[in-house]
């Protein structure tokens, strides 16, 4: 069975457009490689919504300037703008590589939202940590779905970056310490461990649902 046979969708999940943009090439390549549908999901993160109403919270824009007058309406408008840009970007990418595609918005926590969306055979592409950097390495976790190996190898070849193996991950353990924002970790994780995984890492994840 080839990855194309086993992968139904590649779900690119982000909480803002900047994150989606940083991961698009990876997700597009995976979808093309696997012959899967490219699905975009913008999650309106509960923490972000909470931030908009927390009086003590402060926001700094990407250029390093403080943002004043934070409220849920402005945050909602910002999500709407990011969703439109995300969808447009996805459409252009899918047209370029002749992929079928879809897009949707979700609310809640990233891990929770994905648990509701993902189906067996889907490949989840999602960020962890604050920062997104140019991709520097592809990491294949030990114990990951065997189907992920060729996809990881193809991704590494595509971005001309190294592919390395990682010891079996344990959420409580320390194998994540070598991963950074430029790392892409191909692994398998149970839904109930997803939030812990995202909280413990600062890289891009490619997960077999």
């Amino acid at each position: 069975m080839t990855p194309a046979d086993s992968t139904r969708r590649v779900i690119l999940t982000a909480t803002c457009f900047a994150e989606a943009e940083a991961m698009l090439a990876l997700a597009e390549g995976l979808a093309a490689e696997a012959g899967a549908m490219l699905q975009g999901v913008l999650v309106e993160d509960a923490d972000s919504v909470a931030l908009a109403v927390a009086g003590a919270a402060r926001i700094v824009d990407p250029a390093g300037r403080p943002v004043a007058g934070l409220d849920p309406a402005r945050m909602g408008a910002a999500y709407a703008r990011d969703a439109a840009r995300f969808e447009r970007m996805l459409a252009e990418a899918a047209t370029r590589t002749a992929l079928t595609w879809g897009f949707r918005r979700a609310r809640g926590r990233l891990a929770g939202a994905l648990t509701g969306l993902a189906a067996p055979g889907d490949l989840l592409v999602l960020p962890a940590g604050l920062l997104r950097s140019p991709l520097r390495e592809i990491v294949l976790a030990a114990g990951a779905d065997p189907d992920l190996a060729p996809l990881a190898a193809a991704a590494a070849a595509r971005i001309r970056r190294p592919l390395r193996q990682l010891a079996a991950p344990t959420v409580a353990g320390a194998p994540w310490t070598g991963l950074g924002p430029g790392s892409v970790l191909f692994s398998h994780v149970e839904a109930h461990n997803l939030a812990a995984l995202l909280g413990a890492t600062r890289c891009i994840h490619v997960l077999r649902a």
């Binding site: 803002c16 993160d45 700094v60 824009d61």
Partner: protein, 812 residues
Amino acid sequence: MDRIATGQPLAPADLAGQEDFDLGFATTAELDPLEDWPGQDRALGALRLAAETSHDDFNLYVLGTPGTGRHSATRKVLEQAAAARPLPADRVYVNRFDDPRRPVAMELPPGRAVELRDTVRKVVNDLANDIPAIFESEDYQTRRRAIEDTYSERHETAMGALADMARERGLAIVRTPMGFGVAPRKGEEILPPDEYEKLPPADRARLDAAIDEVRARLEDILKDLPKGMKAQRREVEELNISMAREGVDAALAEALERFAEHAAVTGHLQAMRADMIDNAELFLIREDGPQAGAFPVATSRHYLKPQFQRYAVNVMVSHDPATASGAPIVEEGLPTLANLIGRIEYSSDQGALVTNFTMIRPGALHRANGGFLILDAMQILTEPLAWDALKRSLKSGEVTIYSAGERFSLISTETLDPDPMPLRLRVVLVGERRLYYLLAALDPDFGRLFKLEADFDDRMPRTGESAQLFARLIGTMARTDGMRPVAADGVARMLTESLRLSEDAERFTLNLAALGDILREADHWAGKAGAEAIRSDDIETAVAAADRRAGRLRELGQEAIARATLLIDTEGARVGQINALSVLEIGKTRFGRPTRVSARVRMGAGKLVDIEREAELGGPIHSKGVMILSGYLAGHYAPDLPMSLWASVVFEQSYGGVEGDSASAAELVALLSALADLPIDQSFAVTGSVNQFGDVQAIGGVNEKVEGFFDTCAARGLTGRQGVLIPVANVKHLVLRPRVRAAMDGGRFRVIPIASIDEGIALLTGRPAGARGADGAFPADSVNGRVEARLTAFAEARRRFGQKPDTSEDRN
């Protein structure tokens, strides 16, 4: 020609004819070709000087009548001079990389412009293959990744440390569509606002301080990010430049070595090197997408791609030593401004007109640079701005390209300002004399820029030697044009026709084009007759056929006379009426015909009315001629009495303009006839101008005039009495058609030269003119005596009229 007796009919021996030429050969096939132009030594000398001297401004105006060999002689002399000169330099335009609006002009040794162009094309082709390979190499990718990773890691480390610090202080940093949020956290989530409010003030203060600290650090990190990105880009650019430099240097090495001795070329190649390194991304543009088409793009002609036009070499002029030698000779038949100084072409790009240095096109001045440029004077003077551009170029010694629209500020689109190209050439203008004299008079630059004139003669003196030269010339024309050789009698007939064309029995015409036309037509007739050589009869046939083709108007005129629509008497005698002769020239047609002139007289106050002038049909020269008659009458007759004559003179049945004074002798004879009341013999026609002393002077078109009256008389039947009185000074111009000469030979027609009006009036009235005797009076029965008596009678009558008592009071 022997001295001619006046008042006597000319004998055929007095006239020029083909029998005059004893040439001493059978056909022109026996003659050596003539390489030169007989009779044009003066013009050829000027041509050779212009061709051989190296001094500036010795440009040349070749003036003369069309058909005298101006073009062929100019071409041949210049070809001889050009062959001895070296090939001029090649010229190219190349891009000025720091200011593309001002393309650079460069000069190269002959043949090397194309070599430079091809060399640069090869460089571009090589780089189009090499540079993508360089930037795709593992070496480049590794070095680039190392740079990017260094900056990424620096940023990641800072952000990671901040995230850790925030976590330690009970805060969370959250990424949102609006940026990064900093807030108190509860576990892995944001502390709800109501819980925050329930915290003790000290805890809230601590959290607030921590938030401010983290926020400040976050701001610093994010503000540093662009600086880091900029530094990263700079390092990547330096890497790119370093990699590109290696490729460009390798590709250009051969070109630089090949043109090492040409400072301008190596300078340009160095500028190109810098530009290629700076713009290496031009070589990375891939032809993907719909433009790529269904087939692979050829890899060997990358230089044709638009992005590489900036490196092209626009060869303006190239002289390949392998196929060309000597200096160029360029004849520009359409010397428009653009054809002369070159043009800048435009192409349309999304509705806008755009151009670049590869769209500069050379003009005749570029092509002729280092050699000779032949232009038609009339054409360059009538082409807008062309004459001005030529003078500017010659004055400045360089060719500057501009358009008429630019000159008049009509173009507002982007254009170029190419370097002028140095200019050193000899310009030869070929044109009419009239233009030369107008330019000399009206254009102050002309004399300075065109110091030489080659004045082609229209005629050549007739001698035995010149006849032989002319025979060789005719033979050469026949040979060059692939005609049959010309038999001796044919040559003699051509020589006669040459005399006829020059209107002078003592001069050969140098209108070679006209003679060539006759010869070609004669060759046609000789061919139809199956002859191996062109004979006299063939020439005669050709001349007669040409006369007939052009003779419709002449025949209409003669027909009008024959049918008595135009009243012309050719026999009998009438008082105050005479046949004058005029020449009509319409297009190529030129013929003579008689016109009746009449005069009426009466007592008056000394006024001679020129009816043509009064009706505004007479030209100034004609009016001058009539005024001369007044002078003659006033000075010749009854000089001590007031002129008491009123007379009128008119060209009967003339409804167009009358110009010239060749009928003034006839008009005077008509006046004298009217005054003397003596009839004039209508068998004669008279031509000639007259001065105030009664001398008859030469006129033009004598052959056509004689033939015109002859044809009128011949149509009615020649009586043997008929003839034409011509000025004796015109006898040397007589080259009459054989039909007239035959009639003269047979005594059926006469041509009588006269020197004075007295000779004419005596012949026409049959009475002696009369000379003043010792008593100062003309013989009473002479023509002059009768004229003077009539004028005296008018004066007496006028005096008596003036003495009449005034009867006005009686009437009152």
